[in-house]
């Protein structure tokens, strides 16, 4: 669990519930831990802040190496921005360029426009209540990216081999279906 900033404890709690007794969650705030992990979660928070910490500490490089060697990654909201290949109109920081998508920050507006919605998700037999908080959205993608859910013409849940990117917060609702997909990838 990348634990520099954001709703880390909610993510840890949700992942521990999904794992049961089959594994443990460790917090990553410096180099040396990522190479030993079987899966990596990038939580929600402020993408600019998290990116700065990833760059300053070298953990960002470790994640790139792990992702390229096939370690599964689940990235939510700010995390999605951080692992994207390209960010619309962003010059303040460099993303990790792992997920072949073009992402727009605050795609729906400010906090006033944050919303909850019942999403239709590819492969789920009932709607998924998703929480979008100053959420990004995917406005462009490469052929190797599978779209799992959309809002209008934008993608909000995607998968590309070992990478899962979600524009919303599966850690805030108690519905662990995305966590289960992620754990199946490990």
């Amino acid at each position: 669990m990348v634990a520099f900033q954001g709703d880390v404890s909610e993510h840890v709690h949700a992942m521990e519930r999904a794992l049961g007794s089959e594994g443990s969650v460790v917090a990553v705030r410096s180099m040396g831990t990522v190479p030993d992990c079987d899966g990596i979660v990038l939580p929600g928070g402020e993408s600019t802040t998290i990116s700065r910490h990833l760059a300053r500490t070298g953990v960002g490089d470790e994640i790139q190496v792990a992702a390229r060697s096939g370690v599964p990654i689940m990235a939510t909201c700010a995390g999605l921005i951080v692992i994207s290949k390209e960010i619309v109109e962003e010059t303040r920081f460099e993303p990790l360029r792992l997920l072949n998508v073009r992402v727009m920050r605050n795609a729906f507006g400010s906090q006033r426009e944050s919303f909850e919605a019942d999403l239709k998700v590819e492969g789920f037999d009932s709607p998924y209540r998703a929480v979008f908080i100053r959420a990004p959205a995917i406005v462009g993608w490469h052929d190797d990216v599978d779209i799992l859910a959309r809002i209008e013409d934008m993608a909000v849940a995607v998968r590309q081999e070992n990478l899962m990117g979600l524009a919303f917060h599966p850690e805030l609702t108690g519905d662990l279906r995305f966590h289960e997909i992620f754990l199946d990838m490990i």
Partner: protein
């Protein structure tokens, strides 16, 4: 997906927004240039103000919501969330901030109070953060709809003592609820003038049910570390960023300190060579009319 199926302004969205700020530093700024410096340093959000608390103290007079022009300029200059302050009870100022599109409203004792009652925050789509000195005050604000609490401390002093005292008081009271039965909790709820259900929630969670930042007097990386060690989810730094000799250095150092709050070796590095912090005022020497924390109830 049709847009009318979306739900806005729910408690989950408001409290969720506050959760995304955890582990971060929220900085007071008065210009778009300062906002950019704060964002560069790694702030999770900025608080747009007409003047920082230390200057509000000096200027005297009535302190009000900032000019919308300043707030809009700041919103346009950064991608991180922008917050702004309203006077206690001034719901018209709050409506204006919501219409501008700020991400969070701070109903703040730093501004001159407009009413003895606080804004009914559940009515708004935008989330609120409110100050508190003790558990009763924090839970009254949460009951009114606050999605986040900041311990008040004593703003604009650069003296961390009051922030420490308030954090200790809230944490201590929550710890004392442990093991209490329902009757005893009811008695506590009456004594501290707080909602019983919320007191119950604090006993069970052993923390406030919303995100709790420290504020009011944080001026150095060590101050930030201290508040994080005491259980704060993050810190607000007001005058402590742009009053020191070198704001860029201080801003980055405080962000780093929040992230490494439990690592003294790293804090040595972070605290070294920052230049003079803000001069500050010993909070113990303030006269009655100069104390901000007693505003509100």
């Amino acid at each position: 997906m049709q847009l009318e199926e979306l739900r806005f302004g729910t408690e989950l969205l408001k409290r969720g927004f506050a959760k995304m700020q955890k582990g971060g530093v929220i900085m007071d700024v008065t210009t778009s240039e300062q906002a950019v410096i704060a964002e560069e340093a790694g702030a999770v959000a900025v608080m747009a103000l007409q003047a920082v608390p230390a200057d509000i103290r000096k200027m005297g007079g009535v302190a009000r919501m900032a000019d919308p022009k300043i707030i809009m300029e700041i919103i346009d200059s950064v991608t991180i969330p922008v917050m702004a302050k309203v006077r206690i009870g001034h719901y018209a100022e709050a409506q204006i901030l919501e219409a501008i599109g700020v991400d969070m409203i701070d109903e703040s004792e730093v501004l001159t109070p407009a009413d003895e009652f606080h804004v009914e925050k559940v009515k708004f789509t935008v989330p609120f953060v409110c100050g508190a000195r003790n558990l009763g005050e924090a839970l009254r604000r949460i009951k009114e709809g606050a999605a986040m609490i900041r311990t008040k401390g004593e703003a604009g002093t650069g003296d961390v003592r009051e922030a420490v005292r308030h954090m200790r008081l809230i944490g201590g009271t929550i710890r004392s609820l442990k093991g209490m039965n329902d009757d005893e909790l009811m008695k506590v709820a009456r004594e501290i003038e707080a909602d019983y259900e919320l007191v119950l929630e604090c006993r069970d969670m052993q923390r406030l049910p919303v995100v709790n930042f420290a504020a009011g007097g944080i001026a150095t990386p060590a101050d930030a570390s201290l508040m994080m060690q005491m259980g704060a989810d993050g810190v607000f730094v007001g005058s402590g960023i742009f009053k020191p000799q070198n704001p860029e250095l201080m801003a980055t150092a405080i962000v780093e300190a929040v992230n490494n709050y439990d690592n003294p070796e790293k804090l040595v590095e972070i605290s070294t060579g920052l230049g003079d912090p803000m001069k500050g005022i010993d909070a113990g020497t303030l006269k009655e009319g100069e104390i901000l924390q007693t505003r509100g109830w």
